[in-house]
Amino acid sequence: MSAAPTLQLDKLAAPSFGALSCAIAPGEIVRFTCAVQEEREQLWALLTASQLPRRGHVQLMGQNLFALSVREQLALFQRVGAVPQDGGLVSNLKAWENIVLPVGYHRGVDPSMVEDKVVAIFRELGLDNNAMRGLMRRLPDQLSLLERRWVAVARAMLMEPDIMIYDAPFTGVEREAAARLLRLMIAFHRARPERVSVFLLPDEPFSERVPADTTIALES
């Protein structure tokens, strides 16, 4: 008997695409390629429940996302690592404070307890101690797009989520940095066999390098 899907889209429709159906089993890497930016943005908004669909459902870890109350959605999102394209950081918190916000909030973890994990993540991304120290003290507005994404990725990974959703993580990033980021994401995915990784990607050459088990091309 196969395991229940971690993510299931059932005839999901938004203004820019229609009737998208798929079932993502535990452990899979899935790549949604979107030729039009609007499609990707709307799929992201639907998967993170910031927009309601025209039709259809999103089943996330067995729960109908749009039938849940706000509090139930918040509880579910503790198991989801969502990494928006712009990082989605809190502007009045420094990079370090952004990284430790969810683990401190949900699990009461003292920031010093996760320091080693964060250092390991940023080492993978190619930063030395000095660069890391400088980065952690800065506010989001003082960070580059790539740095904001690094912070968002580290923040999501610290929560050890069951599913990671990345929104165009390699767009606008230099090739080598994108390759490092992808390596980190794949290593994190493989660290837990049931973890699902969802990549929402624009139609660009680097997207092909994501080693996906399933590729779904969105068509208007």
Binding site: L74, G88, L101
Partner: protein, 266 residues
């Protein structure tokens, strides 16, 4: 003909209705937010929320001390100068009574609140408004964090406590500086003046003053957060939200000051 048009404009249902609807929406939002804070104050037990709360106390209370000290000092000197020129320096009892009425009952809570409105109300409203426009409230939800719990509860509680503390501080500085100035310039007995103030200061006086500070603190914090959260989709909404928050705060403050003074001292 022209005056008829003016009268028509005055009784135009739209021009009458809009402020009424706005007032109704303001108080409905105000009470809803206040109810939320009362129901969820326990989130202050979470370390990240506590940090926001501490920052709010620091920003609204501690950082306002300089401005508050200066205004309290000047208010104390000005009021005492007026009193002593009215009743003379040989009448410490009357001086103490008027000092208490003006500085402790009225000016203390009111001027402290106005300083906080100028510093923190505008800052809070614009900060929340820009966070909302940048989609940071959605970002918090994606992290499983309710934005009202993380952003609003600690701000409202922190600001309210800060207003109470700042008011208390203002009153002490104003009374002491007023009496000190009178002693220095007019040969008034500082100790006798202070004894009279302490003797006249009964529990009702203190409690009503604290009640005013508490109510003003709640009004300023809830109103600032409310207008900050109400921005829609454009950057031009931010200055509008800030202006509305400040204006609404000042109006509500004077209205409630009058109501509380009337209820306890008339």
């Amino acid at each position: 003909m022209r005056s008829l048009t003016n009268v028509a404009a005055l009784i135009n249902p739209e021009s009458l209705g809009r402020p009424l609807v706005a007032t109704f929406l303001y108080w409905r939002g105000f009470l809803a937010l206040l109810r939320y804070v009362i129901a969820h104050w326990r989130v202050l037990g979470l370390a990240p929320v506590r940090r926001v709360f501490q920052r709010q106390i620091y920003f609204t209370g501690v950082q306002a001390m300089g401005a508050v000290s200066m205004i309290a000092l000047i208010a104390g000197v000005v009021i005492t100068t007026q009193i002593t020129s009215l009743v003379g320096s040989a009448n410490p009892g009357v001086t103490a009574r008027i000092l208490l009425w003006t500085l402790v009952r009225e000016l203390g809570p009111l001027l402290s609140a106005i300083v906080i409105i100028a510093r923190s109300s505008a800052a809070t409203a614009s900060e929340l408004a820009s966070m909302r426009l940048r989609g940071e409230l959605d970002s918090l939800r994606r992290l499983g964090i309710e934005p009202l719990d993380y952003l609003i509860v600690p701000r409202i509680v922190g600001m309210t406590i800060a207003v109470v503390a700042v008011t208390f501080y203002f009153q002490i500085i104003a009374v002491v500086s007023g009496l000190g100035f009178a002693a220095f310039v007019r040969g008034f007995s500082f100790m006798r003046g202070l004894e009279n103030v302490v003797a006249l200061l009964d529990l009702t006086e203190v409690l009503v003053s604290l009640l005013k500070a508490l109510v003003f603190g709640l009004v300023i914090s809830v109103t600032s957060c409310l207008y900050g959260l109400r921005v829609e989709r454009s950057v031009t909404d931010i200055p509008r939200a800030v202006t509305r928050a400040v204006l609404q705060n000042v109006l509500t403050l004077f209205l409630l000051d009058a109501v509380i003074t009337y209820a306890f001292f008339v």
